[in-house]
């Protein structure tokens, strides 16, 4: 790639920023980089040409930049979110955490701009690897384990995607990333779709999300809730609009996620399940595939990133200040953290689609699109999920943290930078609700939808009011309990235990036995052969045999010390190697 086009690409700012961070942190100037990079990128996306960064790599044409309206709306919200996230984590001292966040954002931007499947795959994997560190940096045993599961699931998803890409290349020798027609879709396309769906957390391959996000760091979760699933929504919207399967799966997702959000106890787990529900709206909109539905999916992605991040920031502020995120351990915090409450409630109100907030103008677009397309069943499912949204995230979550029974937990208001980030996000939620044209202008198709009609208002006010009544009637029954609920991760978490048992019992016994045999038979045999050889050749070349034997012994010792057995170091090494390859690919 030409050096001039490198600086067209917003991801290169984040990669460069990640490289510069360690140097700047030496001079205590980390914060400058943290703010400057997202600002530059946010400014840069307005100046992108339609196509750039086309290069030839081993006979494949890689397209690093392809821009149209669909790309633009996602780039806009991704860079805006990177800025809000950077403000929120200004107080974090660990440079490595910031590097991981920057590389994660770079992966997301790179995927969004990619014009071919190979480029997508490179940035897709960068996203998965970098975000894993946002979990590991919490440094608790549970987080380390959850991070491995997250990485393994995403590696599996990446392999499915790669298999689809290979098959596709074999079928039609074309890796350009464009819309796939429903009629002509082959096995290859469906494999690619499954790879994308894993990142969009479509059940039954969704369990990584509520498993990993609650274990991430406070600031890491704010980044993670914005980028992985919404990048997947973007690639699905680009390649697979109109696939009936997505419409049905999306509607199921909305109810599945919200159902768990109603019963979970950990605040961040509630929010994580609720991502599944919200992304369901977008997947459903893409599956319906009309101009209005795809517009709705994009608008909802934009609005959702802001209010879900706001919710994660509010709950994260509580976790940061009190060390607690479980509803049964919290309660009555409104006297001690009133501002965090105000911002979280704004997020909850927006996600529930109150008039004058961003949810009102985005979610309704998808529901209306389902109605216009005469998908009554989808419309009913999506509306029911809206009821559950207000119930779980709009009322239950703030009620049991800030009101309910006073837990007596000591707390102070969050640091200024966290509050500033929350003010920023709150402002966007309300701004979009009052002035929806700002968002509608960015959408890929012309918008003929008016959210503020009398009937829509009446419908929304009824849904919100009577959900409130439902909560009021059932508040005792909804009381949080210190439990967590089984989900489909049971299969691989228990499956892994079976595998570990097989590895630790039968295989290890067999291994010990083979080892014993080798020690008694093999070692003696080798020694005997060595002796025989040295005796046989001792006249002329015994120094050579001796020398090589010594060399082997020493080499073996070295190998033994190299293999520390710590998987972290192996994975770290692999990631480092991958980063170097990536940087070479991007910059050469």
């Amino acid at each position: 790639m030409m050096s001039s086009t490198i600086f067209l690409h917003p991801a290169s700012y984040f990669i460069l920023g990640a490289l510069l961070l360690p140097i700047f942190s030496r001079f205590k100037m980390q914060k400058v980089v943290l703010l400057a990079v997202p600002l530059l990128a946010f400014w840069q996306i307005h100046a992108l040409p339609e196509s750039f960064g086309v290069c030839n790599f081993m006979g494949f044409e890689l397209v690093f930049g392809k821009v149209d309206k669909l790309t633009y709306v996602f780039l806009h919200v991704f860079t805006l979110m990177a800025l809000i996230g950077a403000i929120y984590c200004l107080h974090v001292k660990e440079t490595g955490h910031h590097i991981a966040a920057f590389l994660y954002v770079a992966g997301s931007l790179g995927t969004t701009l990619a014009g071919d499947y190979l480029t997508i795959f490179i940035f897709w994997e960068l996203m998965a690897f970098a975000s894993t560190f946002l979990i590991w940096y919490r440094k608790r045993k549970r987080s380390i384990e959850a991070g491995y599961r997250y990485l393994l699931v995403h590696t599996a998803g990446g392999l499915i995607l790669l298999a689809g890409i290979f098959l596709r290349y074999q079928n039609c020798h074309d890796l350009s990333f464009t819309r796939i027609a429903v009629e002509g879709a082959t096995m290859a396309d469906y494999l690619i779709m499954v790879g994308f769906m894993l990142n969009a957390a479509v059940p039954p391959i969704h369990a990584w999300l509520p498993d990993a996000y609650p274990e991430a760091t406070v600031t890491g979760a704010v980044f993670m809730c914005a980028f992985t699933t919404k990048t997947a929504v973007y690639v699905l919207a680009r390649a697979f609009p109109g696939f009936e399967m997505l419409a049905v799966m999306g509607a199921i997702m909305t109810l599945y996620g919200v159902g768990y959000a109603v019963i979970e106890n950990d605040a961040r787990r509630i929010l994580a399940y609720h991502i599944v529900s919200q992304v369901g709206y977008m997947v459903c909109g893409i599956g319906i595939g009309t101009a209005m539905a795809v517009n709705g999916a994009c608008a909802h992605a934009y609005a959702h990133i802001l209010y879900k991040a706001l919710l994660f920031m509010g709950v994260g502020a509580v976790l940061e200040m009190t060390g607690k995120s479980k509803l049964n351990e919290l309660g009555g915090l409104y006297k001690r953290m009133p501002w965090a409450m105000v911002f979280t409630v704004i997020g909850g109100v927006a996600i529930s689609g109150f008039p004058l907030t961003s949810g009102f103008i985005s979610k309704s677009m998808i529901i209306a699109a389902a109605g216009e397309d005469h998908r009554i069943f989808l419309l009913i499912m999506l509306s029911l999920a809206a009821v559950g949204t207000f119930l779980s995230v709009g009322i239950k979550l703030p009620y049991f943290i800030w009101f309910g029974k006073d837990s007596g937990v000591k707390a102070k208001e969050a640091p200024w930078n966290m509050n500033l980030a929350m003010i920023f996000a709150s402002f966007m939620c309300i701004f979009l609700g009052i002035y929806p044209e700002y968002l509608y202008r960015m959408l890929p198709f012309p918008v003929h939808y008016h959210p503020y009609t009398a009937y829509h208002l009446s419908e929304t006010l009824q849904i919100l009011g009577f959900t409130g009544l439902g909560f009021y009637l059932m508040v005792k029954y909804l009381h949080p309990e210190p439990k967590s609920n089984l989900d489909l991760d049971w299969f691989y978490r228990k499956g892994a235990l079976v595998f570990m048992w097989v590895a630790s019992k039968p295989i290890s016994i067999a291994n010990d036995w083979v080892g014993e045999v080798y020690r008694t038979v093999g070692l003696r045999f080798t020694k005997a052969v060595a002796k025989a050889l040295s005796w046989f050749d001792w006249e002329g070349i015994d120094w050579a045999v001796d020398g090589s034997a010594k060399g082997v012994v020493q080499g073996g010792d070295k190998m033994r010390t190299l293999q520390t057995g710590k998987i972290q170091q192996y994975v770290g090494g692999a990631v480092a190697a991958l980063m170097i390859v990536l940087l070479l690919v991007v910059f050469l």
Binding site: V258, N265, Y334, P338, G371, L384, Y455, N485, L486
Partner: protein
Amino acid sequence: MAQILSYLQAHAKVLKWVFFVYLLGTLLFDFLVERHHPHFWGDSVIGFWALFTILGCLGMIVFCKGLSHVWLAQREDFYDSEDSDNDE
């Protein structure tokens, strides 16, 4: 901020009545609203979404909480303890 909220909490009874009046208001508003493009039959029934919501909301709470109680709910260290059993 905290004072306002404390004040409101002290007058919870008034708030409750305000809330019920609001619910009634939404139903009355539904009588007046013009329905230009009903998407399906439910859109032309007055108070449909109120009924839909309260039934859906109660149904969802009972169904999800019930499912959680009889099947899904586990101790929060459910997976952890299995691990440590294995280590021993």
